[in-house]
Assembly symmetry: D2
Homo-oligomer: 350 residues x 4
């Protein structure tokens, strides 16, 4: 590697902002650790929260910390017990480090491990030239997938996990919230033959993004009656599937209300407050199924993503709106603050 320091984006102190600075390279790999030289990383909403130092960040983040968990790069060293990858492999990573020991982990549910640590949140992350990760989270990329797409596989995996909560082929789908994950979910639904994909969104930039991504109907709840419009589109049936990606209580009400009896809802969005809910009318009497979605199934979800990308069934370029050099990371943060972007990519090394 020839150098003992590297550039990294660091949360240095408990206040607004981040610093691009020189830090020591990760050293001394444990038997199950992998050292990755980053090529491309992408910015998550979580990274923005840490940058902005919101309440969640204040309670969770212990500076100093290298942030970032959406990554693509090359393996440059491996611990003696590593089996999944070898030096030179082109990889990305799940951001959730499972303990591999708890009840959830030993019964095929690592994505809801009780002791999960998140990369770039609880441990040093990937907005750096190098990152050291445990083998368990590393994913070997298909060489045909460009690094920009490979990095975005992590939030793409959230979208896949949500869409695949149940089979939505030949079904009508409502997605509330056209942030990047919402748009990716919509593209996935189209790729797997949903009969109609309807979205709700208020932000003009995102409405435009959704339309370009091929959403059949984008409804702005501020301008149209969501219920009436969807009932018209679905011939009075309501939708078969509702994917909540806004973390907004009105979106939740709308979605559950227009969900057909016996349909299903998958909830990925994070709500800012408790939600007052008519459990009888919106869940019990409808006989619906509601799925809480977090993380990605390791690695069933990643395998689906791999197939969708490798076979060009979903084109992530439609959701990647900006690519910056690593040094210009703050331009990306600022765009995301204004909600005037899809996914923002940073190029770390060539």
């Amino acid at each position: 590697m020839g150098t003992r320091t590297m550039r990294a984006i660091v949360k240095d102190s408990p206040s607004y902002g981040l610093t691009l600075k020189k830090v020591s390279l990760p050293v001394s790999l444990a038997p199950d650790e992998v050292l990755i030289k980053l090529k491309v990383v992408s910015i998550c909403g979580t990274d923005l929260h840490i940058y902005e130092w919101n309440n969640w960040a204040k309670n969770r983040i212990k500076p100093p910390l290298i942030i970032g968990h959406e990554i693509a790069g090359e393996v440059v060293a491996i611990g003696e017990n590593v089996k999944k990858v070898k030096v030179g492999d082109y990889v990305s990573a799940d951001s959730h480090i499972p303990c591999q020991v708890c009840y959830q982990c030993h019964t095929g549910r690592m994505h809801v491990c009780k002791n999960t640590k998140i990369i770039g949140v609880d441990t040093d992350g990937g907005f750096a030239e190098y990152v050291k990760l445990p083998e368990i989270v590393v994913w070997k990329n298909d060489p045909s997938i460009p690094p920009e797409f490979a990095s975005v596989q992590e939030p793409f995996g959230n979208a896949i996990h949500t869409v695949f909560a149940e089979d939505v082929s030949a079904k009508s789908v409502l997605i509330t919230g056209m942030g990047p994950i919402g748009v990716m979910a919509a593209m996935i639904c189209k790729a797997i033959g949903s009969s109609v994909v309807i979205a709700t969104e208020v932000n003009p930039y995102r409405i435009e993004l959704a339309k370009k991504a091929g959403v059949d109907y984008v409804i702005n709840p501020k301008e149209e009656d969501v219920h009436a419009k969807i009932m018209k589109i679905t011939d009075g049936r309501g939708v078969d599937a509702f994917l909540e990606m806004a973390g907004n209580k009105n979106a939740l009400y709308d979605g559950l209300k227009v969900l057909t009896n016996g349909g299903h809802a998958a909830l990925l969005g994070v709500f800012s407050d408790d939600v007052e809910l008519n459990v009888n009318d919106l869940i019990v009497f409808k006989g619906i199924r509601v799925y809480g979605i977090t993380g990605r199934r390791m690695f069933e979800t990643w395998e689906i993503g791999n197939q969708l990308l490798k076979n060009k069934l979903v084109d992530l370029s439609k959701v990647i709106t900006h690519v910056f050099d690593f040094e210009d990371w703050e331009k990306g943060m600022k765009l995301m603050e204004k909600a005037e972007s899809g996914k923002v990519i940073l190029r770390v090394n060539d």
Copy 2:
């Protein structure tokens, strides 16, 4: 039949109470209708609401109406197109009359038919000597099942539908609410090998009923810390399955809180008000599945009930606490008002 009038329990006027009186016999069977001579009926909480004339009843019931929808009897006449049963058959009935035409009905989901009519609520019911029902709801009983159990199959079906939302064999289960359906659910869980069955209940009569029915742990939330107790019982894992049968918001909070990550909840209870819910922590981040449960799958649920009863895997005598003559119907209502009963049976004809 030899008579043109019959005794029936009737909601005569929009006020408290019910009247046992002579009314005309049902006449003129449509091609798909079945006339049943009742032997035994049982009282549902809904019947009590109509008796008490609560707000729900005021909005829904249009007197005059014969009430009652938990029944067992004998077919005495059939319409010309009836295929499922013949005169002399020993039958019970689902209480939900599906339209057989809507989207739900033609896709195997009659239990959430958009146009459901409920017997004894929207149409004349079975607290009478005779009742006329459409073939679609009629269920042919196994002759080995006593009429008292046969009548109770309807709420027993609610319990089955809830328990069988997912497989709970070899799983730990929490049931909140030990009303008759809760107790039946507990007995079903024991019959199909749940690893441990825990219940919460505050009413002393029901606590006793639950214990006699074989519940492993009955926790009184007024006296014990539900969360601490369940974490202790489950070695810190929480329960695999949570069946909400209380319609109580604190029960809902407790249940979702002690539910293990990746577990499931099935909600049958009806809540008196909207519920304020931490959707993030209780559903999304837990990666759980929540099932709204209503009615019974027609007739997968009934078939399960048939097998459980016919093979004596569940003993409904443990939940049937009182049997009255038809004339003494009001004694049953009064007991139920005080929540000092399990299922209450009325004998109509011998």
Copy 3:
């Protein structure tokens, strides 16, 4: 209707051939029967077997019989108890008449009813100007679907039932046999985002049909090594799903052999003889799931078909190769005898 006779294609005697002749119109509707004026019908392989009078036909068919069970037409009369359709409705029909009474029928499995009767095989069929059918099999078509496609919904439903045995979105699929149902299955897989769709077929006409329908790889087992080719395409994994539509034992061997461990097979094809099978290596040790597929789920399968057609996710014109006037029915039979056709349509009434 103005006439008491109608034209129909009839199996008149127990020998090769069929006769287009005048017969009496169906009369006297039972309360649950529907009289349909046919617009378009399509020829099934079963119809060809009856025409050719093969061994199966000799054992099953009792002349005289009007054949045909793939239909589209208009309701012209209904029995007094019919709820699903009214006069003037545009309809098709499932060909399997379930008894509605047996164990299978009352537990949501009408498609495997123990007492099934098949239209045009066990009862007079639809190759006629009018057909009388029980309400239970009638399906109301979306007006946007052309009659040619509506008639083909029956075999299309076989394809859907097979493809939807499990979710094949983002999965690799092998389909053995590119007869019309195989080709439709391939189009469905493409519509719902299978990662790669591979077919095997020896008939040049069908190979061409498959390619035009968008199959990714069509392998001719007479010319190429199926196993080697598929292992190459799938990077040594084998396929995730195997749909057997040839009824050929070598196809079955090939398919099970290239199926990845833990994958699934769905078998629709009918075999001419018993098959000698290495159950250990091909099923047990692979840990696969095998689905026997017959008929269509009533009416979940039809609803999927409706959505695929209404939303133009599948274009059945690619599999409909010939349209004849009713009088020219024998031209269709002759083409099918030579296996030089996809679906063959007959126009009955305009």
Copy 4:
């Protein structure tokens, strides 16, 4: 440990028999390896095949090899990277060592790993005082489970995996073959509320074992008409579930024949030859699901076993018929050769 040699049962040369002899202790743990001091082991049919040196063994086994893979013992040393267990833990192990890298392994299907190695078959096994195993296969036992039961968890897991292929609660089940795994499967079915459990078996010892284990009906195909008897027991429906544990083609025919339309079969038995099968009538037209079963889901199956044993829902003492000292291992082999035993236990260390 204080000694450098240990006693072990070894396949020394490519011929009939095994040798109890002194061998070197396993040394030099890899970072993910665990050294276990055995307490109790149990004999599998596979061990008998190696003892008898049958054709399978001749082709697979490379002497010298320590055999045995059903074990219970205590962890006495761990590699530096081991997370699941610590020194002193009471453990058993799955016998299938997955590669953790292949397609199957990274998509939650380690039990059908393409590169599986079997302990005591492909690597030195556990019929010894100590065994060295990779962490991935080690299972931490509940302290309440006796070592004899803990050792038997491996074949018990085969039974669980087969029974839980689908939910059989309130369903009728046929199990063909009452070897130890068949008997355990029957006990599991009873524990989870199967409506009726029917078995077929010809061996008088095993018939007796099955009856004592609580099987409802044990049919001897040499003395009774299996089809007629089962149709009588099931009121003409046939069974809902068929578990093949005999590896016998007539058992397979009988089972598929009496399986109700739309039911399911789970195949665990290993057949000595190819099986000639009427795929049409026994699979396709019945619309059934067939599951190939191998190994145990790691570790969902083990967790179910843990719950069944810990909560005393299944009593394995009914299937453990003999317990010998380690030195008397050959007595066990001889009993198994005569099929006059259930599970045979060997005590290694106290």
